[in-house]
Structure formats: structure tokens, C-alpha cells
């Protein structure tokens, strides 16, 4: 297996790993997993209006999956909320030089991020009511 320098860097120090602290209307989380591909990923985002303020992840998977989650988390920070639905997978593939056989795992990351978008969207249209 070949790992690009960018995969190596992000694997060794996965920027964006962890959880978003706190709770609130702008915060959403999404998970996805695939037991066959041996991958689980959880994303948490914090939106401020139309802008993503923070994006964090947890991941179980191979070095490419970890690096990809980190790359996506960083790319989301400061991006418009709509970016959650249109991840730049081509940019990701290029940046990390992801081999073909690993592309399936990236789909799970997309799923987790999209789940965040859905949660945010749902929260956005229906103002959160306590109780």
C-alpha cells in the first residue's frame, strides 16, 4: 500500500479529530459505518448561520480513511453549510492520492457528513423547542 506524504502527515497528526464541544441549535452530528470495509466515522459540526464554524470527527479505519476525515473536517471549517452536501471528493482524492480500492470508504465519510447536513437542515426549518 502506498501512502502519500499528505496521508502520512494527517495520519500522524489528524487535525480536526475529536468532538465539537457544547450543544445547541447550530450543532449536528452524523455517523456511518461499514463492517465489511472495516470503517466507522462520526462527524460533528457547529454552524453559525450559513457558515460552518467547527467540524470534528472520530474514526475507526485505515490510514486513508483517517486522513480523509481530517482533510474534510479542515475543508469544512469556515465553509458555507451547503458544503456539507457537496463535499469536494475530487479535491480530496487529489490531495491525498487515494487509491481506487479505498474509494468505497470515502463514501461512508460522505454519509456521515450528509447526516450532519440533514440534522442541521431539520433543525433550521423547525426551530428547536426544549422539552
Amino acid at each position: 500500500m502506498d501512502y502519500s506524504a499528505e496521508v502520512e502527515r494527517r495520519f500522524d497528526a489528524p487535525a480536526g479529530a475529536g468532538n465539537v464541544s457544547g450543544e445547541g441549535p447550530g450543532i449536528a452530528a452524523g455517523e456511518a459505518e461499514d463492517k465489511v470495509l472495516n470503517v466507522w466515522v462520526r462527524f460533528e459540526v457547529q454552524a453559525d448561520g450559513d457558515t460552518i464554524r467547527e467540524a470534528r470527527f472520530r474514526v475507526y479505519g485505515c490510514p486513508h480513511t483517517i486522513a480523509a476525515a481530517s482533510w474534510i473536517a479542515e475543508s469544512l471549517r469556515g465553509a458555507p453549510v451547503s458544503a456539507l452536501e457537496r463535499l469536494d471528493i475530487d479535491g480530496l482524492k487529489r490531495a491525498l492520492n487515494v487509491p481506487k480500492e479505498k474509494l468505497g470508504k470515502l463514501l461512508r465519510i460522505e454519509d456521515a457528513v450528509r447526516a450532519c447536513a440533514e440534522q442541521l437542515g431539520a433543525a433550521g426549518t423547525r426551530p428547536r423547542v426544549d422539552g
Partner: protein
Amino acid sequence: MTTRRRIYLDHAATSPVDPAVSAEMMRHLGADGTFANPSSSHAMGREAARAVERARRVIAARIGADPAGLVFTSGATEANNLAIKGVLAAARPGRRHLVTTRIEHKSVLDAAAAVERYGCDVTYVGCDGSGLVSPDEIERAIRPETSLVSVMHVNNETGMVQPIAAVAEICRAHRVPLHVDAAQSAGKLLLDVRRDGVALCSLTAHKCGGPKGIGALWIRDDVTVVPLLHGGEQQRGLRPGTLPTHQIAGMGKAFELADPAEEGPRLAALRDRLREALERIDGARVNGDPARAAPHILNVAFPGVDGEALRFALREIAVSAGSACMSDNPEASHVLSAMGLTDAAATSSIRFSVGRTTTADEIDAAATRVRDAVERLRRLALGAPAWCSAWRSARLTDDPVFG
């Protein structure tokens, strides 16, 4: 990370060549050395031939064999192919049945698959949860038409020492020759083909301080083998090609130096030190039965981490998932699977193997790095569902430093 000291714990994949061995090799390379073709009849050729014969005697002595039965090959892969295809091809059409095991090296399994394609019949015997083959099961697999039984000595993934003497006794009773892949034994464990009743034995130099690309198949004089390669009359036509004097002399020197009685206990002590340190990692589990292990191999499962990620985290420590010849292969090890491990447990397993250059300091440093890596990856997966974190009862806490 890349500036950290590298630690080599992959001696079962290959070992550094001992300085005495490379010095011996050098003597047969240059214009001032014994470089001539050992098959040449001139004086310089005869000298090279004598160097080959010297090495032949040393190597044969290490397995208690007569030197004349030793056929040099390019390694154990070729030796295993020659043994299996060669004996099956020499068998009468009605006797082309092979018994082997599910835990053999790929070169035995793939050679077995090849003879199956050519019309031979193969029975694959499994192993128990410790990775040990049962002599009884071998006996049950033997049929009147069995022409060869092939069981490895030391399993290259788990280090489990197979009960060769017991299997040999069964083979003798059934008058079936026994082939033993002893690629992992040299310098670690005694094997005596005469005492143990072995008919064919595969050897390789590069796992015990010798060079890569040279090995041998020892063939007892009552066993007929059809050659794989043709051309020239070297090695009684059983294996043509110019004999690589420096490689053979290097193998001879390595086998001379590799004394199991000396090396075995030292390696076992290092291996035990590593096992004790790794067993302290939450959930870590040794694959195989430590009481039945060769001194140099330790295979440990680390549930709750992805195997590829763990190996990448440890890339400055040379270790293996399964065997090196499949290290690009994401599939679970066929050996661990045969032992009943789940795919997840198998792929999260790592083979550590110690050798002549390994020090206690290296063992300690490696154990620390493994623990750090396992914990880091598990923290990264905090909150993961049970299928990928079943190793523990949630004891780690989040670490604010990273991320």
C-alpha cells in the same frame, strides 16, 4: 515520526546478513576470489566447486542429512514447488494425492493448487485454535493413493511448531514420504531429517543471517522428484542453472553460525519480554500457544484498531501482518482464519519476530510504541460501536491534545 530510531522486528520476513556471511560471500565474487563457474572443469572452476561442496556439507549437517541429497534452489519458494510438483509429477497416475495443511506458506498452498489444476487430488488439513495441526487428522487424510504429505515445521505467522516427529511416524507407517517446509527453523529449532523420518526438506538462507535468493531442497535418496527447470546437467539435472557460489557459500556460513542451541534461548527470552509487555495492552491477545512456539515469532491481536492503521502507525518498526509476501494484501491471514479468528481480529494482528541483531532495548522501545499507537488509534475511534471497540469496557478518556 520518521526521525525516530527504526526497530527491526521482522526477522521472520527476512534477516540482515551477518557480517561473517557477507565477508564469506565477498570471497567468491571478485577477480581475486573464487568467482569461476563451479561447473567448469578448469582449476578455477574446481575451486569454486569445492566451496559449493563445503557449504553443502555444513548445511546438510544442520539437518542431519547426507549432503548428496541437497539440491540448491533460489529459495524455499522454489524448494516447496520442486518438492510438491516434483513428487506428484513423479507419482504413478493412480497415486497422485497430496495431503497438506491450511496453514502452510503460500508457496506450498499455491503449488498444491497448481497440482490440483493438473489433475492431482489434494486434502487440506486444518489446525486447532492454537494453530497446531493434529497428527491424527493427517492420518485420517492419508489414502492408499497418497504420494506425499507436506507439513511445515515452524509456521511463519504464529511460530507454532508442528508435531513433525509424530506426523513422520504416521507417514512411515503408511509408507508415504513426508515433506517439511523448514524455512523458519534454521538456527532456531533443531530438525533432524534422519531422526525425525523426513523425506524432503525445504530450506532458505535469508531467515537466519544468510542472503536472499538461495535455498535448498533436501531429497532422501529413495524419493524420486521430477525437475521443474530443464537445461544443463548441474545438480544431476534436478536443478540446472549456474550455481551461485557466493550465495551457496553465504548460506553455508549462515547455517554454520545459526546454532539453535545457542540462539534459541536468547531469542526466546527476547520474545517473552516482548510478549509480557504487549500483554499489558488492554485487550491484546497472543495468537497461538506460547508453550508450543518457536523462539523467534510472536503474533498478537489488538482488537479495536484497524490493522492497516496500526501497521502504518508502526511503520518505523518493521513488523508484519501475516507474511511479507502478502503484505500488500488486505485480506485476513489464511493462517489466523484457519485458527478461527474473525476477519477483524485477524487483520488487527501483528507478527513480531526477533533475530540475531535484536536487543532488549529495542524490545522495550517497540512495546512502548505499540502501546502508544494502539491507544492513539483507539482514542481516535472513541464512541465507535461495539463491533470495532469490543476490546474494552470503555476506559479511555478523550485526549484534548490531539485534533
